[in-house]
Every structure is written in structure tokens, then in C-alpha cells.
């Protein structure tokens, strides 16, 4: 797939994601666009695009299930159990309508959703079947792209606000404290994206998920501060992205847990792996 085709695919995806109701309807639209085939044949193109855009547009589809299943060599369409921070297990339910005005209610009518971000149809289960390393790595890369996409959405909101909002007779974007927070956010997101672009095996995928989680949490913190009062309301979109990244960070291992795991691996091997080679 060349760059032009990829752009075209990106445009179609963005259109679907911004015009279709999140959840089963969006799953259906994605399937129609060829998601199963793309995942099977071009995952290195499809996953960054689809998951990055889920983050940027703030919508929800259940495609993480497919990524994990496909990597495990299983048929897509099911709902594998997914590990969550703290040794918990979740299932990403399909065919569950998100509550209207997601984010308003903390417990949806089904009672099935993640409490913090009701738009994510995550149900806790007592125990789960551990994923293979390959499936885990694929899921982590996908979530990494989602987290970075959400981070970019927050940065866009904060940037627009900084330019539009005036205090002391000038845009708050002119205050260096504000500028540096947004600059730090971009540094974190661009850094995390670089790790995602080079994520291939199990360990580098784990690294990328950790970097992406950290970047998204950095974005949440700085953008919330810049958006201040308005960003603390449910009338502004920021809170959805913040709640989303807090939940997604824990899925398939939180930044904190993964970082510890990285350290444990290094201590065991006593040598730091070098990824990213000049060829």
C-alpha cells in the first residue's frame, strides 16, 4: 500500500468514525470497509491507522478483540479475556450499545461498562485465559496507537483553547508556562509514537505500550491544566479523553506495571537491548 492509498484509507476511516455511533454500528461499518481483510493482510498499516483514529476521534469500536485473536491465530469476532492492571480480567463486550451521552452516567443500564469511562464496554470477569506473548504484543501495539491518538486529541483541544482564551488582555497561549506544558505534551507523544513505529517483537511492543501510556497520561495532566475550568466540566470533550486513557492505560498492563517488568527483564539479562538500528 503506498502513501496515497494509505491517506485515502485514513480519510474513509475518519469519516466513518466521526459519523457513525460508537459501538456495534461502528464495528459493522469497519467490517464493511474491509477491516478483517486489512487486519489479516496489512496489520502494520491497518492497526496504527484504525487505533490512532479511535483515539483522535474519541469513538469506540471493539476491534482490540480482533487484533488479539488474529495474532493468536484464532478466528476474529470473539471476545477473549484481557488482562488488566492489578491482576484483574476484563472482557470487551461486543453488541453492547453505549449509553446515550456516554460519560454522563457512571453505571450504564447494563451495568457492564467500565465505571470511569462508560463508553468502553468492558466487563470484569473472575478469571481469564492468559494470552500468548504474540497476542499480548499485538494488543499492546494497538492500544499504544490508541493512547497516542487520544493524547493528540487532548493536545488539539488544549492548543485551540490556549489560542482562543484570553486573560490579562492576551491569549493564554502567550504565557510561557502554558506553552511549555503543551510543548512537553508534544515531546512525550512524538517520543511514544517513535517507539510504536519501531515496535516489533514482544519486548519492544511492551516498551511502546509503556511509552504511549506515559505520554497519554502526560497529555491528560498538562491539557487539563491548560483547559482549567472548562476542561473540568462534562460540557467540554476533554474529560472523555482523559477518562479513556486512564482506562486504556491499565489494559494489557499499566505503564507502572510494564515499567517494572522492563526493569525486571533488564536485571535478569544484564544488558540493555538495542532496538532501532542504522541499516
Amino acid at each position: 500500500m503506498d502513501a496515497a492509498e494509505r491517506d485515502l484509507l485514513g480519510q474513509s476511516l475518519r469519516k466513518i468514525m466521526t459519523s457513525t455511533v460508537a459501538g456495534p454500528a461502528l464495528d459493522g461499518e469497519l467490517a464493511e470497509l474491509g477491516w478483517p481483510e486489512l487486519l489479516a493482510e496489512l496489520p502494520e498499516v491497518a492497526v496504527p491507522l484504525v487505533f490512532g483514529l479511535l483515539g483522535e476521534t474519541g469513538t469506540v469500536a471493539s476491534v482490540l478483540n480482533d487484533v488479539v485473536l488474529a495474532a493468536a491465530g484464532q478466528e476474529i469476532g470473539g471476545t477473549p479475556s484481557l488482562p488488566y492492571a492489578g491482576g484483574r480480567w476484563l472482557v470487551w463486550a461486543r453488541d453492547v450499545e453505549p449509553p446515550a451521552g456516554a460519560g454522563v452516567e457512571s453505571t450504564g443500564p447494563t451495568g457492564a461498562f467500565a465505571v470511569l469511562d462508560p463508553a468502553l464496554p468492558l466487563r470484569q470477569v473472575d478469571a481469564g485465559e492468559p494470552l500468548t506473548e504474540v497476542a499480548l504484543a499485538a494488543g499492546r501495539r494497538a492500544l499504544g496507537w490508541w493512547l497516542v491518538g487520544s493524547g493528540r486529541a487532548m493536545l488539539t483541544l488544549a492548543r485551540e483553547h490556549a489560542l482562543a482564551r484570553a486573560q490579562f488582555g492576551k491569549p493564554i497561549a502567550s504565557f510561557q508556562a502554558v506553552r511549555h506544558k503543551l510543548a512537553e505534551t508534544l515531546v512525550a507523544l512524538d517520543g511514544a509514537e517513535a517507539t510504536l513505529l519501531l515496535a516489533s517483537d514482544d519486548f519492544s511492543s511492551l516498551l511502546a505500550k509503556a511509552a504511549a501510556g506515559q505520554a497519554a497520561l502526560t497529555a491528560a495532566k498538562h491539557c487539563q491544566q491548560v483547559l482549567a475550568g472548562i476542561g473540568y466540566t462534562t460540557e467540554h470533550d476533554l474529560h472523555r479523553h482523559i477518562e479513556r486513557v486512564l482506562v486504556l492505560d491499565g489494559l494489557l498492563g499499566s505503564t507502572k506495571e510494564l515499567t517494572k517488568q522492563i526493569g525486571a527483564t533488564l536485571r535478569r539479562d544484564r544488558v540493555a537491548p538495542r532496538y532501532a538500528h542504522l541499516l
Binding site: R159, A162, L163, P171, A173, S174, F175, Q176, R179, H180, L182, A183, E184, L186, V187, D190, G191, A192, A194, T195, L197, L198, L207, A210, A211, Q214, K256, L258, T259, K260, Q261, I262, G263, A264, L266, R267, R270, V271, A272, R274, Y275, A276, H277, L278, L279
Partner: protein, 362 residues
């Protein structure tokens, strides 16, 4: 010569030619080691790849210089920041010196016969470099320089200096020269840096006469000269530094007394992030694409991860920095400068805010 041929050949050569530093870790010892490494690599040809033939190079893509730097840094054969000075000095000569001057001088630096320094910063002009005031006045076919530079690394060892002077008002009033450090009227006073070495100097200019043909570019090109080193500093030179930090991290892993896995993991994650980001920059540089303000992201990631590494060293090797006379102490201290030199982290964030995020003026 492509990258893999180069790397394979170089590795085999390094197997056969031991360039391990001697026991003298003093600044003078390091400078001598640097000369030794450059000389050996130049004579064997490795140091000449990636530089054009007309300055004594053997041609080939610039990425070969990054690979050379990586192999040198991974083996800890030369002090990383001093080694990388060639990346900010030689391109300036290639782009702005008279061709005969570049052809004569560049091989001396690459071949380890000489050290050069960069005279940019002044007491009154650090981050705001464009405010520099060291004056150059035309007198016949010479220029006469008066003023002062500061923080000039290695000036006491240097035979030449790339010097920025003021010849008129504003950004267009800055002019660069290639100066012989033994010219009468130059006084060099080394300054003892925090890490215990006379890393940099004050340099005073008292009616220092420079021939007009030592001007780099034309009158008023100085700001462009200063900016032209950026792509090299941010690509080949960063790659070298990152590989040095990985080598030091391996030592930390081997020596760590406190098994704090979270700290080790976070430190490595920072290095890995800086490395991945820089890798993308190397690729774009290799394809001949222009490098611009987006490399400020690389600079912030690198400076931050370097300090993070040495913070971890201090925490996980308790006493190594404070109580022992080990290499960790000067390295720890030197890492504090990583967010200062080459444009401070605050200046990088200003650039990111203005040019990458489009936040308008402060």
C-alpha cells in the same frame, strides 16, 4: 560503501586494532586519546567515509559517520562530546570556508592532528546568541577582533576556532571567521567546571588580526553559519551520544546495588524513546530531507533521558557519585549540563511551542 559493509569492516578492524583508552582519565589524557582515536581511524580510512573527497574524505552517505560514532561510543573509546565536535565544525567548513582552506584544514581535525573550538557564547550572550557583541572591524584586507567569548570548550587545546563576531546591527550583522588560536592578542583562561575538569575557557580578544580570506561565508552570514550546524548536531552527533548512554546504562545494570526495577525500567524506557526518535531523524537525514525545528523534540528527549540515567546511577549505586572516586561522579555532574548546552531545554520548548504547535508569539 553501504552501511552493512562499513559496519562489518569497521568491526573487524576494531577487533584487530586496540584503541582502548589508557589509565589517564584527566582532561589532557582524554584529549590525547581523542587524537589517537581520530588519527588511527583516519589513517585506516574509517574516519574519512561520509565526508566529501574535496576535504580529504572518501565520500559515501553521511550516515556512515553515525555508524562510526556508534561503534566508537559503544566501545567507550573516546569522550563522546569531544568526539562529536567534528559534526558541528566540519560541515561549517565545507559549506562556508574557501574550498582551499577547507581542503587544507579539515583533514587536520579529522586526522587527529588538531583540536578546534567553537567560539559562540559570550558573557552577555548565551541563549540569546544573536545579541553577541565581540566586534570585528575591517582594516584593509584584514579584520580586527576585540571582545570576549566564554564556555569555549577545549579552547586551551585548540589550534583553530570557529568564531562569531559582530560586524553590524541585528541578525544580519553577525560574521563568522576561522581563526588560528596562536594569533597574537588572544588570551585563553581555562575555567574549572563542576565535574572537576577545565572543560571550557574564557577567551579574550585584544586587537586580534584575522586575514579576510579566513571569513566563513560573506559579511553578515554568521547567523546562517551558526544555524547550519543544527542538522548535523541533531543527527549524527546525537546518535553517537545515545549509544554512549546505552553503553553506560549497561554498566549500571552490571553494577546496580539497589535492585529497583521500576527505576531501571523507567531509565531504559527514556533512553529507548530518545533512540527511536533519533533513529527516525537519522533516516530522514539519510534520505537528504531537511531537518528543522522538529529536532528540538529529539534534543529535549535526549537531555532528559541523559539526566534520568544519571539520576538512576546516583540512586541505585548509593555513594558512587558522592563518596567514590569513580567515573560516575564526573559523568553524573556533566549530565547536569545536558539540558543547558547546544540550546537549553527551555529554548527548545520555546521553539516547539512557536514553530511546531503554532502558538504564536510569547
Amino acid at each position: 560503501m553501504n552501511v552493512s559493509e562499513f559496519r562489518t569492516g569497521l568491526r573487524a578492524w576494531l577487533e584487530d586494532n586496540d584503541l582502548t583508552p589508557g589509565p589517564d582519565g584527566s582532561l589532557a589524557g582524554q584529549v590525547e586519546q581523542l587524537g589517537r582515536v581520530r588519527r588511527a581511524l583516519f589513517d585506516a580510512g574509517w574516519m574519512r567515509y561520509g565526508w566529501p573527497e574535496h576535504v580529504g574524505g572518501l565520500g559515501g552517505p553521511a550516515v556512515l559517520r553515525a555508524v562510526l560514532g556508534e561503534e566508537i561510543a559503544s566501545r567507550e573509546l573516546a569522550p563522546p562530546n569531544f568526539y562529536a565536535l567534528i559534526e558541528v565544525l566540519v560541515p561549517t567548513m565545507i559549506d562556508y570556508a574557501r574550498p582551499e582552506l577547507a581542503a587544507e584544514m579539515v583533514p587536520r581535525l579529522l586526522g587527529g592532528a588538531e583540536q578546534w573550538c567553537q567560539g559562540f557564547s559570550e558573557p552577555g550572550s548565551g541563549s540569546d546568541l544573536a545579541s553577541l557583541s565581540t566586534k570585528a572591524e575591517q582594516r584593509g584586507d584584514t579584520w580586527v577582533v576585540n571582545g570576549q567569548k566564554v564556555w569555549t570548550s577545549l579552547a586551551q587545546f585548540a589550534q583553530r576556532c570557529v568564531l562569531l563576531t559582530r560586524t553590524g546591527p541585528g541578525h544580519g550583522g553577525i560574521t563568522a571567521f576561522f581563526l588560528d588560536m596562536d594569533t597574537p592578542g588572544i588570551t585563553v583562561r581555562p575555567i574549572l567546571a563542576m565535574h572537576g575538569e577545565e572543560e571550557f575557557c574564557e577567551v579574550f580578544f585584544d586587537d586580534v588580526v584575522i586575514p579576510a580570506d579566513r571569513m566563513l561565508g560573506k559579511v553578515g552570514d554568521g547567523w546562517a553559519v551558526a544555524g547550519s550546524v543544527l542538522p548535523f548536531e541533531r543527527s549524527t552527533s546525537f546518535w553517537h551520544r545515545i549509544n554512549h548512554l546505552y553503553a553506560r546504562f549497561d554498566h549500571l545494570l552490571a553494577e546496580a546495588i539497589d535492585p529497583d526495577e521500576a527505576a531501571l525500567g523507567a531509565t531504559y524506557l527514556g533512553l529507548h524513546t530518545a533512540r527511536c526518535r533519533s533513529h527516525g531523524t537519522q533516516l530522514r537525514f539519510g534520505e537528504g530531507l531537511p531537518l528543522g525545528p522538529e529536532t528540538s523534540v529529539d534534543k529535549v528527549l535526549l537531555g532528559t533521558s541523559e539526566q534520568h540515567l544519571y539520576d538512576a546511577v546516583r540512586e541505585l549505586l548509593p555513594g558512587a557519585v558522592e563518596l567514590a572516586d569513580s567515573q560516575w561522579r564526573p559523568e553524573y555532574l556533566y549530565s547536569r549540563a545536558a539540558t543547558i548546552y547546544g540550546g537549553s531545554s527551555e529554548i527548545q520548548r520555546n521553539i516547539i511551542a512557536r514553530r511546531l504547535l503554532g502558538l504564536g508569539k510569547e
